[in-house]
């Protein structure tokens, strides 16, 4: 049940056709893991918390640096040196005290990924490197949790949504390839756009409206202000999701509907 304060806070989105009180209640029941509290994570967290996603788990192992502040808008100048998850959860609680925020300061590894995501409804990829993205992809598939990918570089970004056993996964597209981990160029507006696209996908999935970016890789080119959708298909021999081939669409772990 939504409280009178929640009904007022979310009035404008409850007014949207297809959302309504029922959609808002689904958001309230949802538990979302946001892996990464940087440029993408800032945007995803701000908009999911503002929209009333009931429980959010933030995971990041880094501290705020001055060089983060051009894009990681949940962290401010006064937060330099503090743990990112602590800095972020403080702001998010002030933005919306009606949402539960859980902060985990730690590195995601093969050994702990299941512990971090199991029992949660959705995972958002807000990482800054491919190896951890593949860990999240695998963890999402193994635990049957929808996974929302995003990545940025300069004025460019990409997004894709993954439904385990049903649609192409990150490894189907990128086949486990990585790029050397190094300082990447980026302007804040790029993760703002991609993070908002990821948050939109999460909200749509939870409420059960619209069409998702599944079997599609969205490419955003800010310099030419162009969006391109590339069709992608499942690889039946994929190391991460091939074993789910033929199993058909499994029922999502949590049914918000």
């Amino acid at each position: 049940m939504l409280t009178p304060s929640e009904l007022e806070r979310y009035e404008r989105q409850i007014m949207i056709e297809g959302v309504g009180r029922e959609g808002q209640e689904r958001l309230k029941r949802a538990k979302v893991v946001i892996a990464g509290c940087g440029g993408l994570g800032s945007q995803v967290a701000i908009y999911l918390v503002a929209a009333g996603v009931g429980t959010v788990r933030l995971i990041d192992c880094e501290q705020v640096e001055l060089g983060n502040l051009n894009r990681q808008v949940v962290h401010w100048d006064e937060d330099i040196g503090r743990e990112k998850v602590v800095s972020a959860s403080e702001k998010l609680k002030r933005l919306n005290p009606e949402v539960e925020i859980e902060a985990i300061s730690g590195r995601i590894t093969e050994a702990n990924i299941s512990k971090f995501v199991s029992g949660w409804d959705l995972i958002v990829d807000a990482m800054d490197n491919m190896p951890t993205r593949y860990l999240l992809n695998k963890g999402a598939l193994q635990n049957n949790i929808p996974f929302f990918h995003g990545a940025v570089d300069g004025f460019e970004g990409r997004a894709m949504s993954i439904i385990p056993g049903k649609t192409a996964c990150l490894r189907c597209v990128y086949r486990g390839l990585t790029v050397p981990r190094q300082k990447f160029p980026v302007i804040g507006v790029t993760p703002a756009i991609i993070g908002c696209i990821q948050a939109t996908e999460v909200i749509k999935y939870i409420i059960g409206i619209g069409r998702l970016l599944t079997n599609k890789l969205l490419l955003y080119d800010g310099l030419n202000m162009k969006f391109t959708e590339l069709r992608v298909t499942r690889n039946p021999h994929c190391e991460d999701c091939g074993y789910l081939w033929g199993s058909g669409a499994r029922k999502a772990q949590t049914d918000f509907r």
């Binding site: 800054d128 940025v152 570089d153 086949r175 390839l177 490419l219 162009k226």
Partner: protein, 80 residues
């Protein structure tokens, strides 16, 4: 002869500077042409190519190109 549609993305666009982002390049190839020979045609160093999708699927260099194939070539981007 067969006609192939190729799109280059991100930093690979510099190999076809006159082509708009997302715009397709139409290339005519010999009947026996394979995916690997397309890279020579485009003059893209192989080490620059990371992700190649043929009609949305990954294919090896030995893949025999077919008329009307739609190919997307893109580097990985990994920032967050």
């Amino acid at each position: 002869m067969k006609s192939i549609e190729v799109r280059l993305f991100s930093s690979l666009r510099k190999y076809c500077p006159n082509l708009g982002n997302g715009e397709a390049l139409i290339i005519t190839m010999e009947d026996e042409a394979k995916l690997g020979s397309l890279f020579d045609e485009l003059k893209i160093p192989k080490e620059k190519i990371t992700v190649i999708l043929v009609n949305g699927k990954h294919e090896e260099e030995s893949y025999l190109l077919r008329n009307g194939d739609r190919i997307a070539i893109l580097p990985i981007i990994s920032g967050g």
